[in-house]
């Protein structure tokens, strides 16, 4: 058809007009570090595995999870989830229940018998891991993946360290613990139990180990000098819980007082209740706000009938009578003695005042530096002695299982680099995906799904697990509450909101790219990206 000149035009011809030349800033896709990932002591790619879980790809999610942490079913129970404290979703409604999804994935993996990837090709390097707690297990796992041979030694009769001997079964069922440990051991690990290492240098030399990882934990309960009558039953919490774990619980009587304000104190008190104590009283020198134990643990303990004497110290323990001194907080929030006393009937006193590490195995080595009872290490967890690494409660840090898992991973990387004669170089950390980077409008309103709790009456009488798991439906829901902070989740917003059709959609899983021929640099894509995965950068003019 002959068309009139100029007034009638063939469609789409404007693509010859490259409006990209108008631009003074250009949008660029970025990956930012989600705050959950940033906060995870184990370095989990939480956003990454939630992304997989969102679409019901639980195995893929689990596999992404265990790239960093081989103990998801355990951590899904015992981790105090700093990730959730950091979660940006809290600014929308409530933090994502990351921990619950992690447990769901861990439990699902056990249920389906998913196993870890085959260990890497044998490097011929031999590594000694001392201590089979979370740090040691984590290091063992990562080292095996890297293809190193591992001997895992532990002084106890069973693997697990404080996971087994410090955490009561109502928080961590033994079947779960055993299953996840077994999966690691199944990677081909030489296990030596009931073996106490007395001299690390000797052990290393005799075993011809290329490197050693010390993960001996903090197994010694701190004692303070409390005047007590001979008949008065006093025990430290670590020993108490260890004995319970060995199914050889000590006789503490009906009235048990626990002294201390940490999670161990709560574990001890709650365990005492389950063992038949009618009164389980925690004595703590400061108030509830200052209590180091995690709030949800406190809440659960109170729910189980544990009581607390705030602002009190134990002065002396005289035959079934505990004398407490009242305290008050000074202007700086520190407790001060008041000189006022009161009495409390008690059959036994459990001291939960912290733990120390037994580092006698290092006494023969002058190079390894020990300060404040813990081993000083580099960022890759190496001590001053070449090839000797340390982590977990034995190294300076918060003493949590998750931190220990993270130490294990870092140590494994450090060891791997060491035995290869290389420097470990960690990748550049992405800029943090802070809440102000997000456009939270786009996220659907969805309050978090709470995990079911065991009925209170049953919690006082047995060691059944208190916190239930999520159903699949709930786990999916919870995973989908993830904002995917800083990481594109292919919501098509940039593709849709570009007034210049300058975003190219690359297909599922491949995200997008900008067509800078047409992008005018308006920045709407950046403003409307829900998760903050685009930034504007100035054009070079």
């Amino acid at each position: 058809m002959e068309r009139p000149f100029a007034i009638t035009l063939d469609v789409g011809t404007s693509r010859a007009n490259h409006t990209g030349s108008w631009r003074v800033e250009r949008p660029v896709y970025v990956d930012r570090l989600p705050p959950c990932n940033n906060a995870c002591p184990a370095g989990e790619n939480i956003q990454g595995w939630l992304y997989e879980a969102e679409s019901g790809g639980y195995e893929a999610a689990w596999r992404k999870l265990v790239e960093n942490n081989p103990l998801p079913a355990i951590m899904g129970r015992v981790c105090f989830h700093p990730c959730e404290s950091a979660c940006n979703r809290a600014e929308v409604d409530e933090a994502v229940g990351i921990n619950a999804v992690e447990r769901f994935l861990g439990d699902t993996a056990i249920e389906h018998g998913w196993s870890f990837p085959e260990p890497g090709a044998d490097t011929g390097k031999r590594i000694l891991v001392v201590g089979a707690g979370p740090a040691g297990l984590s290091a063992t796992y990562h080292l095996r993946l890297m293809g190193h041979q591992v001997r895992l030694v532990d002084a106890s009769a069973k693997l697990g360290g404080m996971l087994r001997y410090g955490i009561p079964a109502y928080r961590l069922p033994r079947a779960i613990l055993d299953a996840e440990i077994a999966r690691i051991i199944d990677m081909g690990v030489e296990v030596v139990l009931n073996h106490t290492v007395h001299d690390i240098d000797v052990e290393r030399r005799e075993g011809e180990f290329d490197a050693v990882f010390l993960a001996v934990g903090a197994q010694l309960g701190k004692r303070v000098n409390i005047p007590a009558g001979d008949s008065s039953k006093v025990i430290d919490a670590v020993s108490f819980l260890h004995q319970v774990a060995d199914e050889d619980p000590p006789m503490l009587g009906r009235r048990v007082v626990v002294y201390g304000g940490g999670d161990t104190a709560l574990d001890a008190a709650r365990t005492a209740r389950r063992l038949g104590a009618t009164d389980a009283v925690i004595v703590y020198r400061r108030n509830r706000d200052k209590m180091p134990a995690h709030a949800e643990e406190v809440e659960q303990a109170l729910g189980e009938g544990v009581t607390v004497r705030w602002l009190s110290t134990v002065d002396r323990f005289e035959s079934e009578r505990l004398v407490l001194e009242k305290m008050r907080l000074n202007a700086d929030g520190f407790p001060e003695a008041t000189g006022e006393y009161e009495e409390l009937d008690a059959d036994s006193l459990v001291l939960a005042l912290g733990q120390d590490t037994d580092l006698s195995l290092l006494e023969g080595n002058a190079n390894v530096e020990v300060n404040d009872g813990v081993v000083q290490v580099t960022p890759t967890m190496m001590t001053n002695e070449g090839g000797v690494f340390a982590g977990g409660d034995a190294a300076p840090s918060d003493r949590t299982a998750t931190v220990a898992v993270g130490h294990g991973k870092r140590a494994a990387r450090g060891i791997d680099a060491y035995v290869r004669g290389e420097e470990f170089a960690s990748g550049d950390r992405h800029e943090l995906a802070t809440a102000d980077r997000l456009n939270t409008w786009y996220y659907a309103d969805a309050p978090r799904t709470e995990r079911p709790e065991l009925e209170r009456i049953r919690r006082q009488t047995n060691f059944e697990e208190v916190i239930g798991g999520l159903t699949e439906e709930n786990a999916l829901f919870e995973a989908r509450r993830c904002l995917s902070c800083g990481n594109c989740f292919e919501c098509d917003n940039c593709f849709g909101v570009c007034p210049d059709n300058a975003v190219v959609k690359l297909g599922a899983g491949h995200r997008y790219e900008f067509n800078y021929d047409f992008c005018k640099g308006c920045g709407i894509c950046v403003r409307e990206c829900p998760c903050g995965a685009i930034e504007m950068v100035p054009e070079r003019i």
Binding site: V11, S14, N17, E54, A444, G523, E528, P530
Partner: protein, 340 residues
Amino acid sequence: MSEQRVHFYQVGSFAVGNRLLSADDRTVQSSPHRTNSIDSGHRACQGCGEALGARYALDAAMRATNGQLLAVNATGCLEVFSTPYPETSWRIPWLHSLFGNAPAVATGVAAAMRVKGRSDVRVVGQAGDGGTVDIGFGTLSGMFERNDDVLFICYDNEGYMNTGVQRSAATPPAARTATTDVVGAEPGNVFGQGKDLPRIAMAHDIPYVATATVADLHDLEQKVERAMSFRGARYLHVFVPCPLGWGSASNETIHLARLAKETGLFPVFEAEYGVVTNVSPIRRPAPVEEYLKLQRRYAHLFGPKGRPDIVARLQGIADANIARYGLLPERDELDSREDD
């Protein structure tokens, strides 16, 4: 509000796409196969809301009509930036005649289709607010009154932007334009004037009238789809912020549209045969200041010499809209809606 049911997923139906939805439930704009009715290379300003609104609406109409669509365009920004010789941005059959006659031209096109028995080919007329509420009002009212089979879409950016930001009957009170400057006792556009075209359209008892913004794509597309399910005259009034005319950052276009709705200044609703059938409730209520402060056209209302009295009057307008359309339903009602 979209009637589309979205199984809960991160962004629900607020974002353009949703990788877990079935293709049928996704927005047209999420598809790499969308028409791109108005294509790259157009000469709209950076962050142009009208370019966006036109693509949204027409691509949706293209899907709704299975590609059997003819568009008629009034003079204005959309026309000028899309078809300067020798290049056109349109990928659909498109006709521009004059500023004030797009509705009538669309009537003619629809008549031609009817006489040729092409009931499958549908007609869209489109104009800015000037071409709709002012100079095109007569022909639009005629098109409505005759119930001609045309979907007329107004891209409302509240002024004559093509000619340099002058006042139209859609310019809101207090807003600065080149013909309502911020001088004198009542700076900016005067209160008590202006034309509420969606309500006027409803008064014609036409089958379908709806408002929408470029901030809620699912809603907009669903309305286009709904509009195309009717025969006869239909009217869609799309709120499209204008960075140039409003003095807003080019990246704030969608955000402003969202705020206009969330403040209640721009009520989003649907009406059939003259009766309101659906309103989009406010999801995150916001005071008008939040919206106004992002725009230089309202800058005279703020700062040391600000006019809180005028801001209060604008809030009054928003509140009146909220009351008139019931934009703030009881919270539990809103929740049950979300649960769908």
